[in-house]
């Protein structure tokens, strides 16, 4: 064996923490700059007309316009793809944009898909309301029994969408079982891995075909940059049936090019930039890509601390008289404890909910009384965050939908940061006493 000869991408040569620092960030070829530069440019010069034609025809690799690709954003795409074990990634303006791009790659008017009913409230609204305007029909499925997805399948279904760790309910999804159902139907499983981050769970290892992220959360990690990503595993055979014509049939906007035939397992990634970002337009800003790249360098360290703090806070809350219940898959009391051990062996994240015996009014009082926790509609920050979903993030849902999503009137959601655990507990303690 030649010791210098490193294997190909499907077997990573380095550990997770090394890839979190280095993947996608080879020193700048032109200058040797050690940190990935912020390529704050909209356009890139062509050598000549033939070079331009090759780029526009996708025959050469290169940059044309930052709505499609940008070197700083590309570094982030490579890093996230590496951490998730994917073939490639498409970064975009937000997690919602990532979801739109993921479906846009293969959905047409009249198509359908299945989604868990335990999703982030904003996703339920995006899928249930706004996607309707594209003629895309979602069917929400109770994921408590994975077989419910099999029962809900229709001939027009093009995908199944779940969250690995559902927001905000502390629900762990049986990814392998649902992947098997999707693949038996010849459709991809799309997993939102925002809440877990690839440090805690890598859905592709359990059969996911596409992974989406709001990089705004744990990946960026500092609450300073909006962003989203779609990671392609490169493993789904888009040509196995006739459901995915946009990837397998001639693309009129590229003079009849067939993406899957031409680009093989790169097809989804190339299409996501060349068609998705080009025509929908939700490009990620280079500055946000830079900040997210920097954030990811410490992902492992932050997740370790966030998880240990979350365990301490959740355990303490469970012992409080004013707390009716705590829904955190890291606790033995959780019905998802065993699934958590399987899918998230390093910990079940740091976002969880608890119920106040005082109901809606107590929830409102709680978020207004804490001093150290920030009352914001966000998760996955170095800072600890708090919100009362029924009065904020999930208020657009019906009471029935709120309860189904784990966001009923008594529910408070915490996103535990990397501060000193005792300070977080002391702040929650004074707030609970004030109710």
């Amino acid at each position: 064996m030649s010791s210098a000869d490193t294997p190909e991408t499907d077997t990573p040569t380095h550990g997770f923490e090394t890839r979190a620092v280095h993947a996608g960030a080879i020193p700048d070829t032109a200058t040797g700059a050690r940190i990935t530069p912020i390529y704050q440019t909209t356009a890139y010069v062509f050598d000549d007309v033939d070079h331009a034609a090759s780029l526009f025809n996708l025959q050469s690799y290169g940059y044309i316009y930052s709505r499609l690709t940008n070197p700083t954003v590309a570094a982030l795409e490579q890093r996230i793809a590496s951490l998730e074990g994917g073939r490639g990634a498409i970064c975009c303006a937000s997690g919602h944009a990532a979801q739109l791009l993921a479906f846009f790659a293969f959905m047409k008017p009249g198509d359908e898909f299945l989604a868990s009913n335990r999703l982030y409230g904003g996703s339920i609204t995006q899928f249930g309301q706004s996607f309707k305007k594209f003629g895309w029909q979602v069917h929400f499925v109770d994921q408590a029994d994975p077989d419910n997805f099999r029962r809900a399948l229709t001939p027009g279904c093009k995908a199944i969408f779940v969250e690995s760790l559902a927001n905000p309910g502390g629900v762990v999804t049986d990814l392998a079982a649902i992947a098997e159902i999707a693949h038996a139907a010849g459709i991809p499983l799309i997993v939102d891995n925002t809440m877990a981050s690839p440090y805690l769970c890598r859905p592709i290892e359990f059969g996911a075909d596409l992974v989406v992220h709001s990089t705004t959360k744990f990946l960026g990690g500092h609450g300073n940059s909006m962003g989203g990503a779609v990671v392609d595993s490169g493993r789904f055979d888009w040509s196995q049936n006739s459901k995915f014509a946009t990837l397998t049939e001639p693309e009129p906007a590229y003079h009849g090019l067939r993406f899957h035939e031409t680009f093989g397992d790169l097809a989804f990634t190339v299409h996501g930039h060349a068609v998705g970002l080009r025509d929908l337009g939700p490009a990620m800003a280079p500055m946000n890509a830079f900040l997210t790249l920097t954030g990811i360098e410490t992902l492992a360290l932050r997740m370790e601390r966030s998880v240990s703090n979350a365990m301490a806070v959740a355990g303490w809350l469970e012992s409080q008289d004013s707390v009716a219940w705590v829904s955190y898959a890291g606790l033995k009391s959780s019905p998802y404890y065993d699934l958590g051990k399987r899918y998230l062996p390093k910990g079940c994240g740091s976002v969880f909910t608890f119920g106040l015996k005082g109901g809606y009014a107590a929830g409102v009082r709680m978020v207004e009384t804490v001093e150290l926790f920030s009352h914001v509609a966000n998760i996955g920050d170095t800072r600890s965050l708090i919100i009362h979903p029924a009065s904020t993030t999930h208020r657009q849902l019906s009471l029935e939908q709120q309860i189904a999503a784990g966001a009923g009137p008594d529910v408070v959601r915490l996103s535990i940061g990397i501060e000193t655990a005792a300070d977080l507990i002391a702040d929650l303690d004074q707030a609970l006493r004030s109710i």
């Binding site: 294997p7 090759s54 940059y63 590309a74 793809a81």
Partner: protein, 165 residues
């Protein structure tokens, strides 16, 4: 474990060495149609300085990207370093035998193309064999270009990228 015996995976340096050593590539199954994958690969390899000689009996005598198309490898009549096979796995067998006959040093079968008995014959004759890969994708991956489109190149290094040729 020698890096090229299994043909399930190839080391980065193995592929880098092959792409660095070959200069003239005969492309069997090259298409004159600009939106076919072989045309993409030929155009890309030309832009990286390779001489690509198209071979396609249906298009023999025509010109693709400035190169005259030959009807078979035997008709080329000049030294060829590598034969790139854009045909199905079965057809790759006799094409490999022709590649051995004309003295090529490398047989490269495209993505989805794999013929193990043919590879054994070529290796027994001293040729190196790569199967189920695309030289455009591999060149662009190893040179970092593939990463420009968000593809995971798998390359981790704190040094500036090595040039391939």
């Amino acid at each position: 474990m020698p890096p090229t015996t299994s043909h399930d995976s190839y080391g980065n340096d193995t592929i880098r060495r092959i792409l660095g050593e070959v200069h003239t590539i005969a492309m069997v199954g090259a298409s004159p149609n600009w939106n076919r994958p072989s045309y993409f690969v030929m155009k890309y390899l030309q832009s990286k300085g390779y001489r690509v000689i198209p071979v396609n009996p249906v298009a023999a005598g025509e010109t693709i990207l400035g190169e005259t198309v030959f009807g078979s490898l035997a008709e080329i009549g000049q030294p060829v370093d590598m034969v790139d096979i854009f045909r199905n796995s079965e057809a790759a067998g006799p094409i490999t035998d022709q590649a051995i006959a004309i003295g090529a040093k490398v047989v490269w079968m495209q993505l989805g193309v794999r013929n193990d008995p043919a590879a054994d014959r070529a290796e027994a004759a001293g040729l190196r064999v790569i199967m189920n890969r695309c030289p455009k994708i591999e060149y662009s991956r190893l040179s970092g270009e593939l990463g420009w489109s968000g593809v995971n190149t798998g390359i981790i290094s704190a040094k500036r990228l090595k040039r391939i040729t």
